[in-house]
């Protein structure tokens, strides 16, 4: 069973920036949809959730940005090292025609794999990606080759200067885009939901919460207003599901289960 721990050798590593790397493994399970995630175990360190950034010809890729103790340790992982993988967990994106993909920061990761699959199906879609700077945005060439892609950065080092959501409104007014996929920082996602709702568009959005078990029992990732477990019914929620949740934009619960700022 994929919920049980198994270790896999790292087949290859690719650096995107000094603080961002992709790791390649032979594909552990067949049923990997974009948006679903794996718990990644670094023996002796910890185990944390990471989206799948690609599956291609039996090789699975995950992409990690160093933001804290665990992800920094990931930067030291070498080819051949054994890493534990459990998953795929959760619910991923479904396939829709004429979509706009809106990604921010590491939220870009699951959209990368989604892009491959939408393209395989011959669907038309456009992509809007944002980050603090150019270095923050992985897979630039892939996205640009695969679909009409707009980049937006805080510092203007790539594409437009500003926030992705500034450019989203124009895009979704274009009549040929009828669906939104989004993934990124929650402040951005809250705006995306708003904008989509304004023009009555349907969407699927991937959210993040602190996760412990990944298998729907510890209760750590449950969001208020719904009882939805993001590790099980999420991380990708439909518009209907996402609108039930009352805590978007609020401080997240930490490892104790408390909301950070109370």
């Amino acid at each position: 069973m994929s919920d049980q721990m198994k270790t896999y050798p790292v087949l290859n590593i690719k650096s995107h920036s000094p603080v961002m790397k992709s790791f390649y493994f032979s594909q552990p399970e067949s049923d990997i949809q974009p948006g679903r995630f794996f718990n990644v175990w670094l023996p002796g360190v910890d185990e944390k959730p990471f989206s799948v950034s690609d599956v291609f010809q039996g090789i699975m890729e995950i992409t990690v940005k160093a933001v804290g103790p665990f992800s920094r340790k990931m930067m030291d992982v070498r080819r051949g090292d054994l890493v534990g993988l459990r998953g795929p967990f959760g619910k991923g994106f479904s396939h829709h025609q004429h979509a706009l993909l809106v990604g921010g920061g590491m939220g870009i990761v699951p959209l990368r794999y989604l892009t491959r699959l939408l393209r395989q199906q011959g669907f038309y879609f456009e992509v809007l990606l944002g980050g603090r700077c150019s270095q923050d945005i992985p897979f630039q060439t892939d996205f640009s080759e695969w679909a009409p892609t707009t980049f937006v950065t805080d510092d203007g080092s790539l594409g437009y200067k500003g926030a992705v959501t500034d450019y989203m409104q124009d895009k979704i007014r274009e009549s040929h885009l009828s669906f939104v996929y989004s993934s990124g920082p929650e402040a951005m996602l809250v705006k995306v939901m708003d904008l989509a709702a304004q023009v009555g568009l349907d969407y699927e959005i991937s959210f993040e919460r602190y996760m412990k078990c990944g298998i729907g029992i510890c209760g750590q990732c449950v969001v208020d207003g719904s009882g939805i477990r993001l590790c099980k019914e999420g991380p990708v929620l439909t518009r209907q599901e996402a609108e039930k949740v009352s805590e978007w934009g609020m401080p997240h619960r930490d490892a104790t289960g408390r909301r950070n700022t109370r």
Partner: protein
């Protein structure tokens, strides 16, 4: 309320004998509400103490072929936060719904202190977790293994709980479970919850050649422990008059019935959520009902403890 499944327990009546066990989906009001909606007669909160605790690093919950290992390490947001969540749940779910608050302490006195604070949220029951095997390296072996500790904690919590009933949650890892249950009874416990996880146990990854759990060891739950839990319930029910919440490895209506036939008043389900998800409560209720109709049984108390000779 469902006439067939309604279950009286310590003066209240619940719509089903099924209880969500402590530690599973019990952190927040909305999470527990969902389980009540699915058909649980009552829900037990995650065990909480005075202060917030992060618990152990991950992996902390690990499925294996026979069940689950867990070493969550009593991570919890602390009594203040949990009191808020219990109140919120009470508001959302109404007075008739069953809310059990699970408490633990690092010292005997802390058990009393947490209980005093927990009663502010007016749970139906204070469940006293003296038996978590995951924190032994910090606290020594669990209190639940020592008769003196259990005796003392029971008295302290009973006093602190005022008119809210208390249930002591036991482990099979003690010299005599029957004696332990009697000690609880004699010292004021109103009920017993049996059992907590077994072991702890360990799993090793043969690739990296190290224990998998960050805490190295974790308590065993799920199908693996069902016969152990059933026997514990049978023994306790045969030797005390306390109502028992029979918990351990239940995944099916047949197993829930076995617990009841062994004498359980209510049936706890924790790891079952992993195997049958939240709808497990709905399914088991439905199957219990069909079974009762088929056998022409009007209330489960007709078969409660019937296996005891």
């Amino acid at each position: 309320m469902d006439e067939l499944l309604k279950t009286s327990f310590l003066g209240k009546t619940y719509p089903s004998p099924l209880v969500l066990a402590s530690g599973v989906l019990g952190l927040t009001a909305d999470s527990m509400k969902r389980v009540l909606d699915a058909g649980a007669g009552a829900v037990t909160t995650k065990s909480f103490g005075l202060e917030p605790r992060k618990g152990h690093p991950c992996p902390a919950i690990l499925p294996f072929d026979g069940g689950l290992l867990n070493a969550v390490g009593l991570s919890n947001p602390g009594v203040d936060e949990m009191v808020k969540e219990i109140r919120k749940l009470r508001e959302q779910a109404g007075l008739s719904s069953g809310i059990f608050a699970s408490v633990f302490g690092r010292t005997h006195e802390e058990f009393g202190e947490v209980t005093r604070r927990a009663v502010e949220s007016k749970p139906d029951l204070i469940e006293v977790n003296v038996s978590c095997p995951n924190v032994s390296s910090e606290f020594g072996t669990p209190f639940g293994s020592h008769e003196r500790d259990v005796e003392h904690i029971t008295r302290i919590v009973k006093k602190a709980a005022g008119n809210i009933p208390i249930s002591i949650k036991l482990t099979i890892h003690c010299p005599s479970l029957i004696r332990m249950a009697k000690i609880c009874e004699e010292n004021g416990a109103d009920a017993i919850t049996a059992i907590n996880t077994v072991g702890p146990g360990m799993l090793i990854d043969t690739g990296v050649m190290k224990p998998i759990l960050a805490h190295k060891v974790g308590g065993v739950s799920g199908p693996a422990i069902f016969p152990l839990a059933l026997k514990a319930v049978y023994e306790i029910c045969g030797n005390t008059r306390l109502p028992v919440i029979g918990t351990g490895g239940v995944r099916t209506a047949d197993e829930a019935l076995q617990m009841i036939m062994a004498g359980a008043r209510m049936v706890g389900i924790g790891s079952g959520v992993y195997y049958g998800d939240i709808e497990l409560f709905t399914h088991i209720n439905r199957e219990l009902r069909s079974w009762m109709i088929e056998k022409n049984i009007k209330n489960l108390k007709e078969v409660r403890g019937i296996a005891y000779e």
